[in-house]
Amino acid sequence: MIKADQLCRKFGEIYAVQDLSFHVRKGEVMGLLGPNGAGKSTTMKMLTCFLPPSSGEASIDSVPLQDSIAVRRKLGYLPENAPSYADLDVLSHLKFVGTMHGLTDATLLDRISEMERLCGLTQVMHRRIDELSKGFRQRVGLAASMLHDPDCLIFDEPTTGLDPNQIVEIRHLIRRLGEKKTVLLSSHLLPEVEAVCDRMMIIDQGILQVIGTSEELARQAQGESVLYVRFKESAEQVLNLVAEAFPDIEVKARDTNHPHSYAIYHSDADLPLAEKLFYSAVASDAVILEMQPEKATLEDVFRELTGAAQ
């Protein structure tokens, strides 16, 4: 549905986006992740025909970006910060956007009332937009982007400025949209992307670092897995037994409030370490009070790939 091939955008001599190639399938929710200034917005601006790419190609539903009017008809776009005409009331703004997208009067009002319900705008329909809170403005922006019922939606940071309840609502909305439509959304909030998206890609300094489902990404992370364990009493014997069985692991005493706490690092995620630890403890009559495995999370992946780990 959305296809980018070697997309580049230069500002002066600096690449904002470099050789970006990806494919969003029909009916998929794709997350575009990256730190601030990574090129997320630039990518979206190119896909929505706002900024011409310096080189490379992209297409929406097999329509190349060069055919910009046709592409724009297929797209619903929510720009960053959801700009809307502050001097108009919500209803007039939506009417304006709908008419500009070529909706006729008959369908326009139907669509507006549907969006009103979907985005929870009923109480503000006749208020001026510059009187609205950030959350409502964001919702007006969402409503405007979906008004002409496009197959493909591009949202640039759809949940900024919303309170936690609204964030959950918008996530539900996007999930529901994702059942029928293709959605590309950008965010620098990991939990959001993890909660909403089928697949995600991480870009940093304009370069695509990785693309896949959250599990795939986490598996790709080179960060070691850790097993935290706490014994009731000193348990050198247990640890020695485990270390004998798995020579690759690294055991470190943890500096916590509790004595006899250890962190066991290992690089093989499939290692039956917890099991071995349990049986060794049973064999040496030691008591395990606490055991907690920790896998590399998306956050680790993100930190590693975007250079924040160094």
Partner: protein, 236 residues
């Protein structure tokens, strides 16, 4: 064309909903009324030439004010991104904005028709001359609107747009004023580019094709420049 009219209608609504439109309208009508009345009672003649020769100066101040936020605000508030990613062509955006200001200016000029109407009631007014003058005024206003619209496309600050627009119009005015100091050959050459000179020709009540042509072509020239300026920032 439908798109242009939609933009025009939206701007018209904004103008009716915000104080700026009313402030400019009231100030313009007050100033126009003052210049109409002051000459009239001094001369004691049913003649509006004095009024019409001062109108370009008024428009020079007021039209940039009515036009300044048309495109600059769109860029500052980010709505230009919204507008530019709609399935519309840049020429429709330019046409819509131009028509919007022209509609407002025309409404103001229509309100000033009260002056010739009242003069015609009490004196013997040359209707043909006034009609030609209004046509000239309308065309000159179109020129000024397109120049101001170009200024508005250059910057994202409304006040800067006003200053640039006023500066450009003032430049045209200065060329007109400086005309007699040039050699006749230069004067002929400059007259081609000076909408104001053609406006003054038309005030005599003669509607020349070259006058209309010049005023229209300056309008089209600046609308094209505006189009270029916007096109630079977006996809075709």
């Amino acid at each position: 064309m439908n798109i242009a009219l939609t933009i025009c209608w939206k701007e018209w609504r904004v103008a009716l909903d915000t104080p700026l439109g009313y402030v400019v309208a009231v100030a313009f009508l007050l100033a126009a009324g003052f210049f109409f009345g002051s000459n009239l009672f001094l001369a004691g003649q049913a003649d509006m030439r004095g009024y019409f020769s001062i109108m370009p100066l008024l428009l020079m101040f007021f039209i940039p004010a009515m036009t300044m936020r048309m495109l600059s605000d769109e860029q500052r508030s980010g709505t230009f991104e919204l507008l530019a990613t709609m399935p519309v062509r840049t020429r429709d955006i330019v046409a819509g904005k131009f028509l919007a200001v022209m509609a407002q200016v025309s409404a103001l000029l229509a309100l000033t028709l009260f002056y010739p109407a009242s003069l015609a009631l009490i004196g013997n007014l040359d209707g043909g001359q006034v009609a030609a003058a209004y046509l000239a005024l309308f065309l000159l206003a179109a020129c000024y609107v397109s120049v101001s619209l170009y200024a508005s496309a250059l910057t994202s600050h409304a006040v800067v747009a006003y200053v640039i627009g006023f500066g450009l119009l003032f430049g045209l005015f200065i060329i007109m004023q400086a005309m007699p100091t040039f050699s006749p050959a230069t004067q002929d050459f400059l007259a081609v580019f000076t909408p104001l000179a053609h406006y003054h020709f038309m005030l005599r009540g003669v509607i020349g094709l070259d006058d209309i042509g010049t005023l229209l072509s300056v309008t089209v020239l600046f609308l094209t420049l505006t189009w270029f300026q916007l096109e630079r920032r977006r996809w075709r």
